[in-house]
């Protein structure tokens, strides 16, 4: 094998670290780039758990059911072979994590415990208290540190990825990055680049559960250099986030998986303390509307239900944007052991103990199902993806791979809870294997290339920096970010309509124009955060344009993308076999022929070019509409 190549991994969350680990173990040298120490990546915020069928709870769970739940949870929009391999790979991944020292919660017999999550009926979620993402990330982080100590991984923390360097054939041959302290721009050569830069929730800031570094800027930058973006309109709003002016902190779906109930007072004028409101005066709307799944319906459904109860029925607590998430009826010792981490977050930031008083929550921007378009190679025999194919997780730019939340691969129109830690880890591993396969077939390495393309890209980035730093206007980058968040929250949110989307597209164009009148407010040549932030916000605006344009182009309701004007309502009280339901099913299937397509976006200077491509439905034909009643 052609060992000893150099690979750049950008991003040190679960996806990036798994890719790093896999590539380094294949014998290649990895340069790992991150905006900060990798262990602070947003993966640490994942709370509830990671899905894997272990069938350890006496419920006859099966990998097939995990596949079906994931496909249907995503409204059939995800390609099915990758989902199959993902679900099949999950138990092995859990066992590997356990070997790395991850402190998974245990049953009294000392086995891995599992709990219930949304959109499924089986306890399938492994967890480490309510800080699962943190534990998983640290497990891989420790391994990467071990490889670093052995000289096989070189970390470049406090470096920001700015752009790809491509050779004359358009193959990715390295990157240009900026030292966030010295502001130095430097080109780094690599034989392959893996982008694992996470989500983009900051586009909705501050109404998001995402970390302040989840900007999507890196994905936007490669998009602007020709990488395709897919399913950008599918963005998940987590139903249960804390209220907050600076951030809407996540309260894990595990809270409901462990028995938490969502309700509002039946009478919005009922101002009694929640504990004093009797059962008869409470409206458990999720349990009412979806008796089969109750509080653990998928997130898009739960978020819309909360939206409906507050915005349409005016039943929010005190008439506002808030509903109760109630744990007070559960055993407090049990809840403390299983959900301690989120209880502590709520106590610290809301000043109220969820064991005594129901939490107040509302949906908030959480997770991008869409992302960089990545390829896969179907294995005709297994129906999954072909092991060690260099096509898996490859973007349309040769030599550039993407994994983790910044790709679009597994979740379709809506992600099921606890599938993200799984897809981040699994896709990092697969992308790593794929890169190793790609390097085997690669001819001349990037070290042999002339300096010209690298120097040129450094010069281009220096010019952009100079333009941002030298602007003498009145637009503060942090205020531009606020404006972007407010605009996207209002017009490209939980519920959408074409009028608002058209307005959003126009306003985003205007927002982009405002960068001409930028005022960084600081001239420092050392650790200038305003410069880095301004560049991120600009690229976020470019990505927001893709999201708005993709949402505008899709005239239907699917998963997280909800346009009431095009809603096909399930006839109330009717089920399969009833003529009304069958008529609905026929309408739904007809709509699928038009809309069951991956949305793709390509960069053009005058705005993204939106297209559609077929979804690989080779495992489960879309016969059954999603129905969680």
């Amino acid at each position: 094998m052609s060992a000893g190549r150099t690979v750049i991994v950008v991003g040190g969350g679960l996806g990036g670290l798994w890719a790093t680990l896999t590539i380094a173990e294949a014998g290649h040298r990895v340069l790992l780039f991150s905006l900060f120490e990798v262990m602070r990546s947003h993966s640490v915020c994942a709370q509830g758990g990671i899905n894997a069928v272990l069938d350890a709870k006496g419920q006859h769970d099966s990998v097939e059911q995990h596949i079906v739940d994931t496909i249907k949870g995503g409204s059939y929009l995800a390609n099915q072979p990758p989902i199959k391999s993902l679900c099949e790979g999950a138990p092995g991944l859990i066992r590997t994590f356990e070997r790395l020292g991850v402190t998974f919660s245990r049953t009294p017999e000392g086995l891995l415990d599992q709990r219930l999550f949304g959109g499924v009926k089986k306890k399938r979620t492994c967890f480490a208290g309510a800080s699962t993402g943190q534990q998983l990330l640290y497990g891989v982080d420790q391994q990467v540190r071990r490889l670093q100590a052995d000289g096989r991984v070189e970390k470049h923390e406090w470096w920001e990825f700015l752009s790809l360097v491509k050779d004359a054939d358009g193959t990715c041959r390295g990157i240009v990055a900026m030292d966030l302290r010295s502001q130095e721009l430097q080109a780094f050569r690599a034989d392959a680049v893996v982008l694992a830069t996470g989500g983009l929730g900051q586009i909705y800031a501050p109404k998001t559960t995402c970390s302040t570094n989840s900007t999507g800027a890196a994905a936007s930058r490669v998009f602007q250099q020709g990488a395709r973006f897919a399913n950008a309109e599918f963005f998940q709003f987590h139903p249960t986030a804390m209220l907050g002016e600076d951030k809407t902190r996540l309260m894990s779906e595990a809270a409901r998986g462990e028995g938490g109930r969502v309700w509002v007072p039946r009478d919005p004028a009922d101002h009694r303390e929640p504990g004093r409101i009797p059962e008869s005066a409470r409206f458990y709307f999720l349990e009412d509307w979806y008796p089969a799944y109750g509080n653990t319906v998928p997130r898009d459904i739960a978020s819309r239900a909360i939206w409906k109860v507050t915005r349409e029925f005016g039943l929010g607590i005190g008439g506002g944007d808030r509903v109760y998430l109630d744990l007070t009826h559960l055993d407090s010792a049990f809840v403390s052991t299983r959900l301690g981490a989120i209880l502590s977050i709520y106590r610290k930031f809301a000043g109220v103990d969820p064991l005594d008083t129901p939490m107040e929550i509302f949906p908030a921007a959480h997770y991008a199902m869409g992302g960089l378009w990545v390829d896969f190679e179907r294995d005709e025999r297994s129906g999954g993806v072909k092991q060690d194919s260099p096509r898996n997780h490859a973007t349309n730019i040769a030599g550039l791979y993407a994994c983790g939340e910044c790709d679009y691969a597994y979740h379709g129109a809506n992600r099921l809870g606890a599938n993200s830690l799984l897809s981040a880890s699994y896709s990092g591993r697969v992308a790593g294997e794929s890169v190793a396969a790609y390097l085997q077939g690669l001819g001349a390495g990037s070290q042999d290339l002339p300096a010209e393309p690298f120097d040129r890209e450094v010069r281009r980035q220096a010019q952009i920096n100079a333009r941002f730093a030298g602007a003498h206007g009145d637009q503060n980058p942090y205020r531009l970010h606020d404006a972007l968040g407010a605009l996207m929250t209002a017009k490209v949110g939980v519920v959408r309509d074409n009028g608002s989307l058209d307005a959003a597209i126009a306003e985003l164009a205007e927002l982009e124009q405002r960068f001409e009148r930028l005022d960084l407010g600081e001239r420092s040549g050392w650790a200038n955060q305003s410069l880095a932030h301004a560049r991120q916000v600009f690229d976020m605006v470019k990505l927001a344009q893709v999201m708005a344009a993709s949402a505008r182009a899709r005239d239907e309701c699917r998963g997280a993308h909800y346009k009431p004007a095009f809603d096909l309502q399930i006839p109330e009280g009717k089920y399969a076999g009833d003529p009304e339901y069958e008529a609905y099913r026929a309408r739904w299937k007809a709509a699928n022929t038009r809309w069951l397509k991956t949305t793709t976006a390509e960069y053009a200077t005058d705005g993204p070019r939106i297209g559609f491509e077929d979804v690989d439905l080779s495992l489960l034909a879309p016969e059954e509409p999603r129905d969680y009643r």
């Binding site: 900060f36 066992r95 420790q142 302040t212 610290k348 050392w526 955060q529």
Partner: protein, 250 residues
């Protein structure tokens, strides 16, 4: 909803080598704001109390919910994550300084790379053959053992314990409480145990466990309430036994 203004006294420093200086700001505060969210508001209009337009204050932030460890600083003299430092619960004026014992990068940003170096020094990892699937069942572990280990696995390397430790500092060899707690954690893992002698020898060298002076500030300032001094006691026991093994044969 701006509710009031709060006085912030911030120790600033332009570059690692330059002299620190103080600036006072009157920053707007909203309901349930914390130090980070106030700093975020402030950077939109960085004007000092005496009306001088200055560079925005540089500071670190990421998760805003006390799991990433990025935003630790000295708040009214004590080290803590600034995201969970609610304005209403602090004495005013609020005094912000960079986390001590680590080199300042700029303003409230410090370089904590020593923490990662120390984690390397104590070999805070499980030595696996490879991260591939080996088709073997997971090992059993009691809920009680899990509960003890889980406490240590929540360390987010924020550096508060290091900053408060009288034995840790830029010119001191001491490895610090956080990496020691990771040795405790790794030595308890069913396979991590195989390398426990190596880890113990690492912390029996200069700057290791014996450099702890038992001031126990670490456990008092740890935002995640990690029982660092219990880890230190347990490692005391492990190193005592290791010493006897070294002296008299295993």
């Amino acid at each position: 909803m701006i509710r009031a203004n709060v006085e912030l006294r911030i120790r600033r420093q332009d570059t690692p080598g330059s002299a620190p200086y103080w600036q006072v700001f009157n920053a707007p505060v909203r309901e349930r704001d914390n130090v980070i969210s106030v700093l975020m508001q402030l950077r939109q209009q960085p004007v000092t109390a005496d009306g001088q337009r200055v560079d925005p204050v540089a500071f670190e932030h990421n998760c805003m919910e006390e799991v990433c460890g990025a935003c630790a600083m000295l708040i009214n003299g004590l080290p803590r994550p600034s995201c969970s430092a609610l304005i209403d619960e602090l004495d005013h004026p609020i005094v912000l300084e960079p986390l001590p014992k680590f080199p300042v990068v700029r303003d409230l940003i410090v370089d904590r790379s020593r923490m990662s170096e120390h984690l390397q020094r104590v070999k805070a990892w499980i030595r696996i053959d490879g991260a591939w699937e080996i088709h073997e069942r997971t090992q059993r572990q009691s809920q009680q053992a899990w509960a003890r280990n889980y406490l240590y696995s929540r360390c987010m390397s924020c550096g508060c314990c290091m900053a408060a430790c009288p034995q840790f500092g830029p010119d001191k060899a001491f490895v610090g409480p956080a990496p020691l707690a990771q040795v405790r954690l790794m030595n308890a893992h069913p396979t991590g145990r195989y390398d426990s002698a190596e880890r113990l020898h690492a912390i029996m060298a200069e700057g290791g466990l014996t450099d702890c002076g038992n001031a126990q500030n670490c456990v008092r300032v740890c935002p995640k309430e990690i029982p660092l001094t219990t880890a230190i006691g347990e490692l005391g026991r492990q190193t005592t036994l290791q010493m006897l093994k070294d002296l008299f044969g295993a």
